[in-house]
């Protein structure tokens, strides 16, 4: 497996491959879960079971070690003209298929001590399963709570961005299975434009609360799996200001150096004093 710039620093191809991305449009999602099923089938992941969460029709809850696509059923207080038609009684529904964000500055990738987590030639973040040693540090380093540990196997797993399919020029399984093209797959910068056009189109049709979730101004520096959502992204469990945990390291190492200094100087003084 040759990865772009992973070991040698040399590109695997002469032509730079395009940087790909997802744009998941909640205004088109119908909550059919075809993406979840397609992901599980393609990647051979264990089923989630028929668990009834009581949170709308969500039976998956969150992304996990064997759940790399997760359809959120966002049942919100009624919005006139959307969902129910009584205006008060019935809630408004929207659906959104969650996935690994494939951050521009990825916390998991920086935290990985083995080099198992790499950036592929398509710009995605990929865990090499044969290198991962199960230290679980990436799990607490992910600001989106995406990476999880398979308890039986010990290693960490998440969406691979269908690296195997992308290598042979195919789109990821979830995007292919999506019946409404709610999951768009394409070149990152192109999809950013597509997202803006879609926002304008929705606005012209009277939907004024749609926005693209792409935290480009935070330390995460943008994501390769953007979401078009209506209203506050927090209702979709999308954090307003995700931060890559490496920003905390500098203060930590400063404190570590002080602690080491105190330990050495303290011991020196204690034994100097103890001599007398």
């Amino acid at each position: 497996m040759r990865l772009y710039g992973a070991e040698s620093g040399e590109p695997a191809y002469d032509i730079k491959p395009r940087v790909t991305a997802f744009l998941t449009d909640s205004t088109l999602c119908i909550g059919c879960k075809a993406c979840e099923v397609a992901c599980k089938e393609w990647n051979g992941l264990a089923a989630d079971g028929y668990n009834w969460s009581g949170n709308s029709y969500d039976n998956t809850g969150a992304l996990g070690a064997s759940t790399w696509r997760h359809v959120k059923f966002v049942e919100t207080p009624a919005v006139a003209g959307m969902g129910g038609n009584s205006g008060e009684e019935l809630p408004t529904f929207s659906f959104s298929s969650d996935v690994c964000k494939h951050c521009e500055n990825a916390g998991c990738l920086e935290a990985c001590p083995t080099g198992a987590i790499v950036r592929t030639e398509f710009g995605g973040v990929f865990i090499q399963p044969d290198v991962c040693n199960g230290c679980a540090y990436c799990i607490v380093a992910c600001p989106f709570g995406v990476v999880a540990k398979n308890r039986n196997d010990g290693r960490a797993f998440k969406c691979t961005f269908c690296y195997d399919r992308q290598k042979v020029g195919l789109e990821p399984a979830c995007a292919k299975a999506c019946p409404t093209e709610s999951i768009r797959f394409g070149e990152l910068n192109e999809l950013r434009l597509v997202a803006q056009e879609r926002i304008e189109e929705l606005e012209s049709r009277g939907v004024r609360d749609a926005q693209v979730y792409d935290p480009i101004d935070t330390s995460v520096g943008g994501i390769h799996a953007m979401f078009l959502v209506r209203g506050d992204p927090r209702t979709y469990n999308l954090p307003p200001n995700p931060e890559i945990p490496t920003i905390y390291a500098k203060a930590g190492w400063k404190s570590s150096a002080i602690a080491a200094g105190v330990l050495i100087a303290g011991s020196l003084l204690a034994f100097l004093g103890g001599r007398g």
């Binding site: 009581g54 966002v74 607490v140 709570g145 945990p245 011991s267 204690a270």
Partner: protein, 359 residues
């Protein structure tokens, strides 16, 4: 109990047709609709997030990891104390004990890490690359360097105990120097390790956690060395006082921190109690006992201070781990939601799909 089974009949079908005609004619339905049993159902809002489901994943480390923080802290500090006892204090017995504690702690540390990883060869994957931006990578390499040096120093000590050759002594001292050099960061890097994460209660405390863990490690090391029979050492008592004084300040710092929302797991619930008990055993209690021992010369008070510091340090590591779990479960923090935390519904993996009356 079984669900009431509704059989469609002419009446129900006519009603549906009626509704459909109404919708066609007026574009809306004025009937009340059906409110299912159990309503109102949870809703996703900017105040509740996504049904109070936590965004962040909790740490998935096993029980070995907080114990590793405890053992590693003691081992690293012992190497520094031993080197100073050897070169400055001329306390041969203390230096000898410190070398053995450092090496034993390093071995135990590796064992605990391997046990957490599941298979021994998985630890070797840590030494595949060096990444300065990953505290886990820096720590693994520090452990490797520290373990080698501390092991060599202890081996030289054991040889020296039988045959006192000058070359063995020199090699032992060189190894001791390097073990102290690696031991100083090794005793506190675990604070950076958990501080540089997405877990709010950890990353909010990143600038004090390494000092806190380092001083906790120093207290543990002092306690072990005292209990091994060095309770006459005035230097150890000074170091024990330093650590206990810092830990007392740390407890005060936690209690008076301005960001009470993020600090909540250190003050409330199971992790809060563990933090407070651990803090009392690490800070004020040994501080008082050591001062009492210095005034009255009571050896029992000093022994009690050692035991108290050991227990406090161990509890403190588990308290921080549990606080991390509690912090990850607080859906409000990453979503920047103000207000009280609402009870979260059980996660979807709680059980099989049940009918409402079976729940």
């Amino acid at each position: 109990m079984s669900l009431p089974e509704r059989v469609p009949d002419v009446e129900s079908e006519l009603r549906l047709l009626q509704l459909r005609r109404e919708a066609e004619k007026r574009g809306r339905i004025e009937a009340a609709g059906v409110r299912p049993e159990g309503a109102p159902f949870p809703q996703a809002t900017p105040q509740d997030g996504y049904y109070h489901i936590p965004l962040l994943k909790p740490p998935m480390w096993t029980w070995e990891i907080p114990l590793y923080f405890f053992v590693g802290g003691a081992a690293g500090a012992s190497a520094v104390i031993g080197a100073m006892a050897n070169w400055v204090g001329r306390d041969r017995q203390l230096a000898r004990h410190a070398r053995l504690v450092a090496a034993g702690g390093a071995m135990l540390s590796s064992g605990l890490l391997i046990s957490d990883l599941g298979r021994p060869e998985r630890f070797l994957a840590m030494l595949r690359v060096f990444k300065k931006q990953s505290p886990m990578s820096v720590g693994a390499w520090t452990l490797a360097a520290f373990g080698s040096a501390a092991g060599a120093a202890a081996f030289a000590q054991l040889v020296q105990d039988r045959f006192d050759f000058r070359p063995v002594r020199v090699l032992g001292n060189v190894a001791e120097f390097f073990s102290a050099l690696a031991g100083a960061p090794f005793s506190n890097y675990t604070g950076v390790l958990i501080g540089a994460t997405a877990i709010p209660v950890w990353n909010q405390n990143v600038s004090t956690l390494p000092l806190h863990f380092g001083m906790s490690g120093l207290a543990t090391s002092v306690a072990i060395l005292e209990l091994l029979g060095n309770s006459q050492s005035r230097a150890l008592n000074w170091l024990g006082l330093l650590a206990a004084a810092f830990e007392s300040w740390e407890g005060f710092h936690i209690e008076s921190h301005e960001n009470q929302r993020v600090m909540a797991p250190l003050k409330h619930g199971g992790s809060g109690w563990l933090t407070r008990i651990g803090g009392a055993f690490s800070g004020p209690l040994p501080l008082g006992l050591r001062i009492a021992s210095a005034i009255t010369g009571s050896r029992r008070a000093r022994r009690a201070a050692s035991y108290s510091a050991l227990a406090g340090s161990l509890l403190t590591r588990y308290a921080w781990m549990r606080a991390g779990h509690a912090s990850a479960k607080d859906y409000r923090l990453p979503l920047e939601i103000e207000g009280e935390q609402q009870a979260s519904k059980p996660p979807s993996s709680a059980g099989p799909m049940l009918r409402p009356e079976e729940r």
